[in-house]
Each structure stands twice: as structure tokens, then as C-alpha cells.
């Protein structure tokens, strides 16, 4: 359950998550980490209007077939090189969706059922905070 995203929107985020970050030999998939449970801790600091608009877009997308998500990801990732109103929307979606999902996954957030190593450790990001 999320305070900011409906179940349908969360479903879309999981689809995006697994397409962007699938399971590989070395890394778990987005949903395997269970990191989406932390979505509200990120969303609560984003502008309300932006999160609300993103929620609506994700709900609409939840009715679309998988190939549409794949097509949209391609559009989003190529949009930096193109101009026009649609490109602006693709870029906004890119920053909004991948920004949230990458933050959750690559910063090492996980659900309580995830038993693997933290993602930062798996990708070799072993930055250390030495407190004084």
C-alpha cells in the first residue's frame, strides 16, 4: 500500500522496474529486491503535483500491454536527442520514473524478504562513511 500511488500505478512501476533492471547472472531483478515498498519515503519529498501527475500516467499505463512499456522505454531513452512536445513528455517520464526506480534499486533499498547482498555491494560501490 502506498500513500501516493495506487495499486495500479505500483503495478506499472514494477513492470518498468523489471524491464529496466531485470535479473541477470550477477544482479537480482527490481521486484526481487522488494525495494518498491520504500517508494513513499522518496515520493513524500517530491512536489505533490508531479507525483500526482505521475500516478495518473502510471494508472493509465497499467492497462497497456507489455510491448507498450518496452516501446515507451525506448522513446524515453531516445528523447534527449529529439525535439518537440512529445519528446518533452518522454523526458519528463524518463526522469520521473527512472529517477524513482533507480534511486530505490541502486541505492540498496530492499524489502524484508530480500536475502541477497545489497545492490551497491553487488555493483562494486563500496563507498565508506567513516564517522569521527
Amino acid at each position: 500500500m502506498s500513500k501516493y500511488f495506487s495499486n495500479r500505478a505500483l503495478k506499472s512501476l514494477n513492470i518498468f522496474g523489471n524491464l529496466l533492471m531485470p535479473e541477470t547472472e550477477h544482479l537480482p531483478s527490481f521486484t526481487q529486491t522488494g525495494c518498491l515498498v520504500h517508494i513513499d519515503s522518496l515520493a513524500e519529498h517530491a512536489p505533490e503535483d508531479d507525483i500526482s501527475a505521475l500516478n495518473i500516467a502510471l494508472v493509465l499505463l497499467s492497462f497497456m500491454p507489455l510491448f507498450f512499456f518496452k516501446w515507451l522505454i525506448k522513446k524515453m531513452k531516445r528523447a534527449q536527442e529529439t525535439n518537440g512536445m512529445m519528446s518533452t513528455i518522454y523526458r519528463q517520464l524518463n526522469f520521473g520514473i527512472t529517477g524513482l526506480l533507480y534511486s530505490l534499486y541502486y541505492s540498496g533499498k530492499s524489502g524484508e524478504n530480500y536475502k541477497g547482498k545489497p545492490i551497491p555491494e553487488l555493483i562494486g560501490n563500496d563507498s565508506v562513511r567513516k564517522y569521527d
Binding site: K77, T98, S103, N125, D132
Partner: protein
């Protein structure tokens, strides 16, 4: 309500210095800061929470066409808490340009150097040495040496980073957990607390509008989710370029100041990655230490510095998705990274909608694109000279230094504040941050923002 001599909006490079200096002179000072008051032991301990809690927009803000992303700090200490604390003075090139543009006579090194010295004496500054290079700086210097490119070590505001003991300074993009980085939080605000100065800080107070009422200024805003109004006699806007422009534009000052919101610059930054067979570990130790040296690059209009990004930020810079992304991200320790930051010539414009939401238009002009391309070509050459197996230029770019929109000058028709940093025609509303810059300096601006704030504080006391 208690009467304050000065109310300052913002606590970053400018607001933090002004707050300390005015309080140190015995003035009662109230600082209104939109972000939260974090301390070294309360800063978020991971990238996701750091990004969302310490930056405006929940991490990033976008230009109107969403091509450029902006990063700006939102916490007590502002951008100085999340920046890299590189402390460079502006040079003759900047001051000559600004004098030509404004005719303001303190824009020269002779006048400004004593102020720089005074601010530098209040900071702990450290110039990096060859022994402190991490793998990414090693790649940078090796490539430069092979190509005959001169380089130099950067100077940073830091007191005790403990990189020799294994601390990795890239983590302080989410705030320094050692109070080593010389943010205004550490160097000015906490100093004021220790000295028991008459400084009050209200965090999570977002100013919405101001209204000039003769001898007073009325401030309307939201404090911890509650509407609040207060009245002060002297107001200093130091909310950073976006913050200050937004407040003035939303308060209706555009009619009076046609230049308000215009001449916006941001030093667009482009990141390039070199992939190596061996571990570079760009995220380890002192992670940004080297830059190219010489007037040649000042004239070319760009600078190159070794940098890097934490994991999820790095993923955002990559266009690969799916398995390709997952495979590329596994190369994290094998990447070197150099940024091209250009001195942008094409001005952008800041405006607000009816709700006061920022709208930022910022295009790259032909000169800007030429500078980017020339810089990226040299970066590619540096990486390859240092035996990179692949060079990856991110198509995404960022504005880390927001500058302009309230330019300083003598003339109300093309500027917003006068040489005393007062709004033209007003005697109690000051604007004292990077929004007053007449053009892009092409140099890290934090030290100069602090220095101009120090100069203003001296004039007010």
C-alpha cells in the same frame, strides 16, 4: 513577535555568511530556510534518501523542455552542504567582463582580494596533493601527461576528511557526516551557535511572497505546513538564484523590473566515462581533485575536472536499459569520469506560473554546443591516452550552479539590484546571492558568493 534587525531568506553560501556576520556584529538575525535542519549525525546515510531529502524537487528539477536537469540543495546550509566545496576565486577575466557589463567599480581583483582573504581565513582550505589522487584522478593525469595537457590540483574546503583512514568523500553529496566539509552550516551557522550569537533559524519555512509596505516588508510563507506571515524592517533575499527569482517574480516585481528572471546561466555540465580493464575506483577517497590548467581553457570557455557519481545517479546518466544497463553498471569500479563544465553564453529565463511554480527556459546556443563538443573531444583523448577500452558520453546534462536573473547594475532597465545589493528604488530589500551575477563566470562560484555576502555584511555593520 520578536523584532529582528534582519530577516534573511536562505542559509546557503550567501545567507549563511550574512547570518553569521550580522549576528557577530550584534544584530538580531532571523534566517528562514525552506529545507530541514540536518546535522552531521542526522544526514541521510544512503543515496536515495540523501537525494530526495536534501535537494529541491525531491532530487532534481527540470527545465521547461526537460532537457536540462538542475540540482540545488534544500537544507540549512543550502547548496554548500551538498556541493563539492571547491573554493576558487574569480579571476581577472570575470571581473573585467562584469565591470564592462555593469560599470561597477568593485568588480576588480584589487578591491575584492582582501574580502576573499577574510572569507578564506574563516574556512579550513586544503589543496590536494599527488599523494591523494584516487584512481580516477590517476587516469586523468596519466592521459593529460601523455597528451602534454597541463593540470593542477583543486582546492577544497575541508578540515578532516580521513580519506587515508578509508573515508570516501563521495558520500558527502548527502551531507558531510564528519563536519569536515566547509559548508556554511559548519563554518558559519554552527560557529554562530558555538559563540552564542543572536541568530535564530526557522527551518522548513518556505517563503512564498513578499510585499513592500513602506518601512516594513511583509513576508508570507509556509512554515512546517502552516501558513505564516511576518513583518520585518530589513529583508535580505539569499535563497539562491531559483529561490530569490521565484519569490520576486511571484510577488509581482517583474512589472517594475523588466530584467528580473532574465540572464540566467548555469555552467552546464556534461559527464564522460572511460571504461578500463583495471579497477579505477572513482568513488573512493578524495574523488574530485584535478582540473586542467591554463588560460587556454578560460579562453576556450570550459573546464575539465575528474568527478564521479553514486550508483543510482550513474544509472540515470546512462541510456542503456535492461540487461545492457545491468552489465554496464557492474563496471562501476572500472570507470573513470571527467566532466566538461562550460561557461554558457546563451542566457536562459526564469518565470513562474500563477501558483508560483518555477518555469526555467534554458537552451544551449551554438557557442555553448561548440564548447561542449570541444571539451568532450579532449576528454575522449585523455581517456584513450590512458588506455580506456571504451569512452561513454552521457547525453544528459546538468546545471549545478544557478546564476543570474537579478543582475546587479546601475540601471533599472537592465538590472534588478544596485551596487549596494538593494532592489533599485528600495531601501530595505536586499538581494545577495548568485542571482545578482551579470554573466556566467566559468569558475566554481561558492567562494565568491560567500565573499560578496561578506562584503555586504561589512557594509551593513
Amino acid at each position: 513577535m520578536k523584532q529582528y534587525d534582519y530577516v534573511i531568506v536562505g542559509s546557503g553560501a550567501s545567507g549563511g555568511v550574512l547570518a553569521y556576520m550580522l549576528a557577530a556584529s550584534g544584530k538580531e538575525v532571523l534566517v528562514l530556510e525552506a529545507g530541514k535542519f540536518f546535522r552531521k549525525d542526522t544526514f541521510p546515510d544512503n543515496e536515495a534518501d540523501g537525494t530526495t531529502q536534501l535537494y529541491w524537487g525531491g532530487g532534481i528539477e527540470l527545465s521547461r523542455d526537460a532537457k536540462m536537469a538542475f540540482l540545488r540543495g534544500k537544507c540549512v546550509g543550502g547548496g554548500t552542504v551538498v556541493n563539492q566545496a571547491l573554493q576558487d576565486r574569480f579571476d581577472k577575466f570575470v571581473f573585467n567582463d562584469w565591470f564592462d557589463k555593469t560599470g561597477i567599480d568593485f568588480f576588480n581583483l584589487e578591491t575584492m582580494n582582501p574580502y576573499y582573504e577574510a572569507v578564506e581565513n574563516m574556512l579550513s582550505l586544503h589543496k590536494f596533493t599527488p599523494e591523494e589522487k584516487n584512481g580516477s584522478a590517476e587516469v586523468f593525469t596519466k592521459g593529460c601527461e601523455k597528451l602534454g595537457i597541463k593540470y593542477q590540483y583543486l582546492r577544497r574546503g575541508q578540515s578532516d576528511c580521513a580519506t587515508q583512514e578509508g573515508n570516501d568523500c563521495i558520500t558527502c553529496l548527502s551531507g558531510c557526516h564528519r563536519d569536515s566539509k566547509q559548508s556554511t552550516l559548519v563554518s558559519f551557522i554552527q560557529r554562530a551557535e558555538k559563540e552564542g550569537l543572536p541568530l535564530t533559524i526557522w527551518d522548513q519555512f518556505q517563503v512564498d511572497k513578499i510585499k513592500h509596505e513602506g518601512k516594513n516588508v511583509r513576508i508570507k510563507g509556509v512554515h512546517k505546513n502552516e501558513m505564516k506571515e511576518l513583518i520585518c524592517q530589513k529583508l535580505i533575499l539569499a535563497a539562491g538564484t531559483f529561490g530569490t527569482n521565484r519569490i520576486l517574480l511571484h510577488s509581482g516585481f517583474k512589472k517594475e523590473f523588466p530584467a528580473l528572471g532574465t540572464n540566467f546561466f548555469t555552467h552546464p555540465q556534461f559527464m564522460s566515462f572511460g571504461l578500463y580493464d583495471h579497477k579505477v575506483n572513482a568513488h573512493k577517497g578524495a574523488w574530485q581533485t584535478v582540473t586542467v590548467k591554463g588560460n587556454e581553457y578560460r579562453e576556450k570557455g570550459f573546464k575539465l575536472e575528474n568527478v564521479f557519481a553514486p550508483g543510482s545517479s550513474l544509472a540515470l546518466l546512462i541510456t542503456e536499459t535492461g540487461r545492457e544497463l545491468q552489465e554496464l553498471i557492474l563496471k562501476y569500479p572500472f570507470m573513470g569520469c571527467i566532466e566538461v563544465a562550460i561557461r554558457d553564453e546563451t542566457p536562459g529565463e526564469i518565470s513562474v506560473d500563477k501558483k508560483g511554480k518555477l518555469i526555467v527556459r534554458k537552451d544551449l546556443g551554438m557557442i555553448d554546443v561548440k564548447r561542449r563538443d570541444e571539451g568532450l573531444k579532449i576528454v575522449g583523448d585523455i581517456f584513450r591516452a590512458a588506455n580506456a577500452k571504451r569512452v561513454y558520453n552521457s547525453p544528459y546534462y546538468f546545471g549545478l550552479h544557478q546564476l543570474g536573473g537579478c543582475s546587479i547594475g546601475h540601471n533599472k532597465s537592465n538590472s534588478v539590484v544596485n551596487p549596494s545589493y538593494l532592489l533599485h528604488g528600495y531601501d530595505n530589500i536586499y538581494v545577495a546571492d548568485a542571482s545578482t551575477f551579470p554573466s556566467a563566470p566559468g569558475i566554481n562560484p561558492a567562494l565568491s558568493i560567500m565573499t560578496f555576502a561578506y562584503k555586504l555584511a561589512k557594509e551593513l555593520t
